[in-house]
């Protein structure tokens, strides 16, 4: 059973912004919000690191429990998606979410202003239906991870990406022992 997840490798992220631009383009996200935020910690100081913040597709998502209109759901493959038709824009999910993932745009199509938008693992773009009203559903193939310049952002089945990540961590730990 697949369980889609993201892993962020802060020892690789260099804040190139590739994930940001890839996401904007792939999902047509309006100007004033972004499904992915890059936060820099200790800028200009020793230990400076960059963290990308998106929906982490939690195993037990607090937003799903919090949403008063059952507008957020977790799919069988682990992806947490939101239904913009149901959303009332109460912003309660943003309080429940420990990652600050839900966003509420003030620009873009008028009928979607104030309606929650967040990462959908690239399954659903910003406008969830096409011009014929058909729901859009795509393969779980997150562009932020695919385009990540240094492969700091890993997206995919949890078992696979954690294996990759663990390998890197192990490599770094070994290096510390044998290093000068």
């Amino acid at each position: 059973m697949v369980n889609y997840k993201f892993v962020h490798d802060k020892e690789r992220c260099i804040r190139c912004g590739g994930c940001f631009a890839a996401c904007k383009q792939q999902n047509g996200v309006p100007e004033d919000i972004s499904r992915i935020n890059i936060v820099t910690i200790d800028e200009g100081k020793s230990g400076e690191r960059h963290i990308t913040m998106t929906c982490m597709h939690c195993n037990d998502p607090p937003c799903v429990r919090a949403c008063p209109v059952k507008g957020i759901s977790k799919r069988e493959d682990g992806i947490v998606i939101n239904d913009k038709d149901k959303c009332i824009g109460c912003e309660y999910c943003s309080w429940a979410c420990p990652f600050g993932a839900p966003k509420y745009p003030d620009t873009g199509p008028a009928e979607l202003r104030g309606i929650m938008d967040k990462c959908t693992f690239c399954v659903i773009p910003y406008e969830q239906t096409d011009e014929y009203g058909t729901s859009i559903l795509r393969a779980p193939n997150p562009k932020c991870a695919g385009f990540c310049a240094t492969k700091a952002r890993l997206g995919g089945d949890a078992s696979e990406i954690t294996a990759t990540y663990n390998e890197r961590v192990a490599g770094r730990l070994v290096e510390r022992q044998i290093g000068v």
Partner: protein
């Protein structure tokens, strides 16, 4: 709800009917704004509205191509739906980037579809921009160029740019200038890595990165010295991190705590412009501890004793005084790079853009030779080039002192060779003899201008502004052709602006109107020609690691824009040498390059081989870039030059004498002009194990005469004998050319030095006339001291890149995504400086130097120390605080504009190449 489309669930990434919306946004505005009903490139645009009921299956096309920003050579897939480029997808198995791209790369579609593109040729008449037809525009340009050619001579035209063009376009550009009859042609490599070329070429034999990006994974220590790869070449860091996870160390030496430095094991902050002293400090410590590779130094280098002598005085304590780096830090860095081998030295503009740039590169190369890293996988010199094809355009020598393939312009033999190639090539019908070619050039004092080095792009404006008597050409420059050249990347911008106002004609060939269209204060005489972007035409591009990749057309040129090849062909026709440009396809040009460009081994990169590699990319191992089985078995990705024959796999590691030449082995160049004072040096330079060659004379035992052999037989012979055609020589730790003032590098203070005491001990060069213009070294340095600039302008200003923008940034400052990420120009200042002048983060400040001033935001950060300030160099459109947005053509106003750091940068130039010294200037910062 209308007809349901054939939406694909799960299987594909693309929801087909989405294309209509994108097309409407991309083309609706285009048609509306261009004032015409049908856009030539998109006749089907009118059917947009009928698709609601029909909703036909869209023709989705996925095209793999190569990114056109930095030089790492990342591959991507463009998704084209019904002729509209809607999306990007990662090219996940591309051997170099494995799908990874930075923000610029992922915004490529956004850049190409930008509504701010130049849509049709335009001319500025009476202060307003007017649309003109292509025919009229080309006629005007050609007539004016012909007129100048007749009255003032061909040298009164200056061509520059084309750094993003393919190898083919670059070759055509140089050929164009050759046939026009001038050496006044240059491109951005002059201001980015010309010192690297000069430094490495005179040390090793080739002036290029000695590794591939892929090989970086094999290093045990990465020493970043004047490179902020994390921002300038993000995907390069992917390979660095792989190495790090395999135990490699990262050391960063930089005046600024960059994002690269943040990921380092050891960071040292040194004073801008003290690079050679720092490197010599390292070499001093290495020699003192006996960490040098004695065997390597003995077998593979020449002139070690001179280096030993030169570094003797640079003890860590002396170096501490010069560089502001604690002596213990120097010792620590030396131990890390010496004890974790193979180590390398990675640089970009931080090392090259100095008045001693060539010498800094020489010192870096010497360091690598002493450690024995040169020629190892992951070791050696790693200059990362700046633009997607700056390596290729350098190889095709859009330069005022070389012909394609580094044939020097000063030798008539080079011209003879090219006259032969132009006539013999099956790709074109034109014929020309050497004498006819020579006749196309002007003469000065009875000597042909053909063998005279032309103006450099960093100083071309002096050809306009200086009196005729002071420049080494018959008349002043009267017209300038900016072919994808950002005027904001050249220092002394005020003089450049003045020159652009003084010339008779400015031609700008670019996909965007660019800030160059707005900079000169003139009401007529600017012609804008809309060029296709690199995503709209094809050709081969060379990565920083010398790998040739085929760049495919994603979409045909939008609006009325045309490919560079088309423009060259039409313009050549109108100038009377169209028969030399009657190529049927871009591949024909590649074949002409295969024929002509021999010194660096461009025989193996045929269009067929490149395309075959592109189709079989999955057979290449990303660990070493070599194909394992399949149709490309044994070939290295991109056939890194030198690739001597069509059977050669390419040379990923230059000067690697451990592998057979047919497996990518190589060696230092053997053929040098012997130093006059050492007539027998040839014996020393050449390694003794070469077998005698075919002609029996015994005199050419040191090399093969392959560079002007049109048949390629000499290459075959050399390979059969197990040698690279360049011979087997030694690395020249002391340059052979006696014209160099410092044959072994020596620290010299920058032109504007914050340390007048040190200037007395380490003065710069004497003034020198080269590249047709007098260049002030000592005079300007002394002027700086006389004017007390180190007191009046107490902060050292350095400049560099932002990850979101690129070069002069005509493309990236017009992309919404990138502007959202990086909307404004700023100067990074230390919190102490900010507090002292009473400025808060993001307030406006004036940055002033002896040349001018910039009004920018203050970015308060500890990245810089209190003696240094940093500004990105991508910005233009604002000049000394004055926004030029009204001067652009309508609809072409750049989305984000900012003041240019090069208005205030230093007037220093490299002593070998006229490289501008952007990295060290003195400034002061005031509250605005």
């Amino acid at each position: 709800m209308a007809t349901k489309t054939n939406s694909i669930f799960g299987g594909s990434d693309i929801k087909l009917s989405r294309r209509t919306f994108t097309k409407l946004t991309a083309l609706g505005t285009a048609a509306a704004l261009s004032g015409i009903n049908s856009v030539s490139a998109y006749p089907e645009g009118l059917e947009l509205f009928e698709e609601v009921t029909a909703a036909p299956a869209a023709a989705t096309n996925k095209v793999k191509s190569i990114c056109s920003f930095c030089s790492v050579g990342c591959g991507y897939t463009g998704v084209v739906e019904d002729g509209v480029w809607t999306k990007m997808e990662p090219w996940e198995d591309h051997p170099i980037n494995l799908g990874g791209m930075c923000s610029k790369g992922t915004a490529l579609a956004n850049v190409t579809n930008s509504p701010r593109r130049l849509r049709y040729p335009m001319e500025k008449v009476g202060g307003t921009w007017r649309k003109i037809s292509w025919d009229a525009a080309l006629d005007k340009v050609a007539n004016k160029l012909n007129e100048i050619r007749d009255t003032d001579g061909p040298d009164s035209v200056f061509f520059c740019g084309l750094v993003h063009g393919s190898n083919e376009e670059a070759y055509m550009f140089r050929k164009f200038a050759m046939l026009f009859g001038t050496n006044n042609i240059d491109h951005q490599a002059r201001i980015c890595h010309s010192t690297t070329v000069a430094g490495l070429l005179n040390t090793f034999g080739h002036g290029a990165m000695t590794n591939t990006v892929i090989a970086m994974q094999h290093a045990k220590c990465h020493f970043f010295f004047g490179s902020n790869a994390a921002e300038a070449h993000p995907v390069f860091m992917q390979k660095v991190f792989v190495a790090k996870e395999r135990g490699a160390k990262i050391v960063v030496a930089d005046p600024r705590f960059t994002r690269t430095a943040a990921m380092a094991d050891k960071f040292v902050r040194f004073r801008p412009g003290s690079d050679i002293a720092f490197l010599y400090g390292l070499i001093n410590v290495i020699l003192e501890n006996g960490w040098e590779d004695t065997e390597y130094v003995e077998n593979r280098t020449y002139g070690f004793e001179y280096v030993k002598e030169a570094v003797k005085d640079y003890t860590p304590e002396v170096v501490e005084r010069i560089t502001w780096v604690p002596a213990d830090d120097i010792r620590e860095v030396a131990s890390i790079i010496a004890l974790n081998k193979p180590s390398n030295i990675i640089w970009s503009m931080g090392a090259t853009q100095h008045s001693v740039g060539s010498q800094i590169i020489r010192a870096s190369a010497i360091l690598q030779c002493i450690l024995g890293n040169q020629g190892e996988w992951g070791g050696g010199c790693v200059p990362i080039r700046g633009h997607c094809n700056v390596q290729g355009v350098t190889d095709m020598c859009v330069l005022s002192h070389f012909l394609p393939g580094y044939y020097g312009v000063t030798s008539e033999g080079s011209w003879d060779w090219y006259a032969k190639c132009f006539s013999d090539t099956p790709s074109t019908s034109g014929k020309i003899t050497f004498d006819e070619l020579k006749a196309r050039f002007d003469t000065l004092n009875g000597e042909s201008m053909m063998t005279k080095i032309g103006f450099a792009v960093s100083r071309w404006y002096e050809g306009v502004l200086k009196p005729e008597a002071e420049i080494d050409q018959p008349h002043n420059i009267k017209a300038v052709v900016l072919w994808g050249e950002a005027t904001s990347s050249v220092t002394e911008m005020k003089r450049e602006k003045e020159a652009m106002e003084k010339v008779d004609l400015v031609v700008i060939v670019d996909p965007f109107p660019t800030s160059a269209s707005a900079m000169p204060d003139r009401s007529d005489g600017i012609i804008l020609l809309p060029a296709a972007t690199r995503q709209e035409n094809s050709g081969s591009v060379t990565t920083t690691g010398r790998e040739w990749q085929w760049r495919d057309t994603i979409i045909p040129p939008l609006y009325e824009s045309k490919t560079d090849m088309w423009i060259f062909q039409e313009l050549a026709k109108k100038l009377g040498f169209g028969d030399h440009f009657d190529y049927n396809s871009i591949e024909d040009v590649t074949r002409e390059i295969n024929l002509a460009v021999r010194p660096i081994g461009c025989q193996g990169q045929t269009p067929e081989r490149m395309k075959r590699q592109k189709e079989n990319y999955h057979t290449f191992d990303p660990w070493d870039g070599r194909a394992k089985g399949g149709p490309c078995d044994g070939e290295y990705w991109g056939l890194p030059w030198p690739c001597w024959t069509t059977d050669h796999p390419g040379t990923p590691i230059l000067y690697n004498d451990k592998a057979p030449v047919m497996e990518g082995g190589h060696d230092f160049r053997a053929k040098w002009k012997y130093p006059d004072d050492e007539p027998n040096a040839g014996e020393e330079i050449v390694r003794g194990n070469l077998p005698p060659t075919g002609d029996g004379s015994g005199t050419i035992h040191w090399t093969y005469n392959y560079a002007k052999d049109p048949t390629g037989e000499v290459n075959e012979q050399a390979l059969a004998e197990g040698n690279p055609p360049t011979g087997r020589g030694r690395a020249m730790l002391r340059v052979a050319n006696t014209k160099w003032v410092d044959r072994v590098p020596k620290h010299r203070e920058p032109i504007e030095s914050p340390e007048p005491d040190l200037v007395a001990t380490y003065p710069t060069y004497e003034d020198k006339k080269f590249y047709r213009v007098m260049t002030e070294f000592k005079t300007e340095q002394q002027r700086s001291i006389a004017e007390n600039r180190h007191v009046n302008y107490p902060i050292v200003l350095t400049s560099g890149r932002q990850v979101e923008h690129h070069g002069g940034s005509a493309q990236t400052r017009n992309s919404d995504y990138l502007v959202q990420l990086q909307p404004e120009m700023y100067v990074e200042i230390n919190p102490k400086v900010a507090n002292d002048i009473g400025v808060k983060h993001w307030d406006f400040v004036w940055v002033k130097s002896a040349r001018g001033q910039c009004k920018v935001r203050a970015y308060v950060t500890e990245r810089v120390n209190e003696k240094t300030a940093f500004m990105p160099y991508h910005w233009a459109g604002v000049f000394e605080g004055q926004d030029y947005k009204d001067r652009y053509p309508t609809d072409g106003v750049e989305l984000a504009r900012g003041d240019s750091v090069n208005i205030i940068a230093s007037p220093g130039y490299d002593e070998q190449t006229q490289m501008q010294e952007t990295k060290v200037a003195l400034c002061k910062i005031e509250k605005a």
